[in-house]
């Protein structure tokens, strides 16, 4: 278990835990109700987080047999 893998827990915390606090309309952000903005933000962050994990994970540097 590599430490970097712990980053993978963040999207779960952000979306499943965050919704408890983000279930509101105000303030509107980028024209969207806050709850929608919150989720969109986490979808984008998930991609970023996974890209970081992918790039730091030594497994992806190894030559894999086809």
């Amino acid at each position: 278990m590599r430490l970097i893998y712990l980053l993978g827990a963040l999207p779960f915390l952000g979306i499943l835990g965050g919704i408890i606090f983000a279930n509101r309309v105000e303030p509107f952000v980028l024209g969207m109700p806050f709850i929608l903005f919150w989720i969109v933000m986490w979808v984008v962050l998930t991609s970023v987080i996974m890209a970081i994990i992918y790039n730091l994970d030594p497994v992806n540097k190894e030559d894999e047999p086809k």
């Binding site: 999207p11 779960f12 279930n23 024209g31 989720i39 969109v40 979808v43 996974m50 992918y54 992806n60």
Partner: protein
Amino acid sequence: MNIALLIIFVFLALAIYLGIRARRGKDMNLEQWTVAGRGFGTLFVFLLLAGEIYTTFTFLGASGWAYGRGGPTFYILSYGALAYVTSYWLLPAVWRYAKENRLHSQSDFFVSKYKSTTLGMIISLVTVVAMVPYLAVQFQGLGIIVSEASYGSISSTMAVIIGVAAVTIYVIVSGIHGSAWTSVIKDIMVLAVVVFLGLYLPFALYGGIGEMFREIEAQKPGFFTLPSEGQSIPWFISTVLLTALGFYMWPHTFGSVFSAQNARVIRRNATFLPLYQLVMLFAFFVGFAAILQVPGLKGEEADLSLLRVSLETFDPWLVGLIGAAGLLAALVPGSMLLMTSATVLSKNVYSAFRPETSEERVGTLAKFLVPVVALAAMVFTLTSSLDLVLLLLLGYSFVTQLLPALFFSLLSNNFVTKWGAGAGVLTGVAIVAYMEISGTKLRAVFPALGSLGDTNNGIVALLVNLVVLVGVSFVTRPSKAVREQRA
């Protein structure tokens, strides 16, 4: 026939033509027909996975829920992202085992891991049952598209029948290669149409996206948040969890992982796919834009909102292109679901009874079963009154029950026995089926739970499943002497 329908049928013909072409030059044995010789790189695996996930559910179901329900719709945007996170670790393990053991299907996986063809059979039947509502989503979507685009000249029942026939023919001629190529056209079209509609409609009808949200909020205060009862916060969390966990339990998704060249291809995809989720956002915008434009669609009818608002706003040729995108969004996943159900029934149910059946015969029987499964799903489509999203959630509640058995089988020291796995899955499925058919809601049975009682039935069943799986495994564990002898 009007121009809109004509365009839709031209695209159907093109999809079938591409399917036939893709097949040429390849010897279609079972390995080719189902897992494309395990030769797909990052791009094709991406297209396959994206293709299965962005279905007529995205197109009509997501906009329909946005139109009819508001806030709870946002669950659709959330679960994919979490599923992709999980996939980074889950899928490479599955892929490697499948390659080493030359597996073709999800049921093969369980048969091989638990050394039980009976368990494989149980899993197969459960997944086929789960795929029927998912297929119904595609058929119902096709029906809506064809009948709406005909401006009422084709009844929705007739339209469903046409749709079922189209998907069936498509699967029989093409197998997985057709799906991969048509995926390319489909993804481009769905992307273009949904983004166009999602931006054009709010600006044309409300003067902007922010303006649209404010106007709806002014007319229906609180529409965009989760209510305190029903689809409340506990419902949201449990439903996102259920669908994120069940995401890769669908046999066709599980199976398309097998077609990857190597494990890195799969991990790479875990970084792109969450962003692709954002396409859903535009589908939501379409549904919201329709609220004040085509009011009055109740219940199941909300699924019509995208097409109704398009019919009111655009010329028939554009409605035809929108319909064609929807057609492909139903055809590609529909064909995968059909092909997978038929293969699973043939290989893991029929052959389990008759192990002497040759691989060639399994392939032939699978093709023969395609129209049979299609007919069953058609009957379900025509008799069910659930909307597209509820149909899909029903399928998810079934298919997620496979997760505990799969998860433990990937551990190097798996204590779960075939009895435990089978009992867990069957208990979970029985609970879901009972609660759905009888309309039981946890909150009604245990009012003291408050909003916790809104927890998704599928998650409740999953917890019981887990307890049964662990309990039965300990009871049926081989004695220590036997285990040492085997080791």
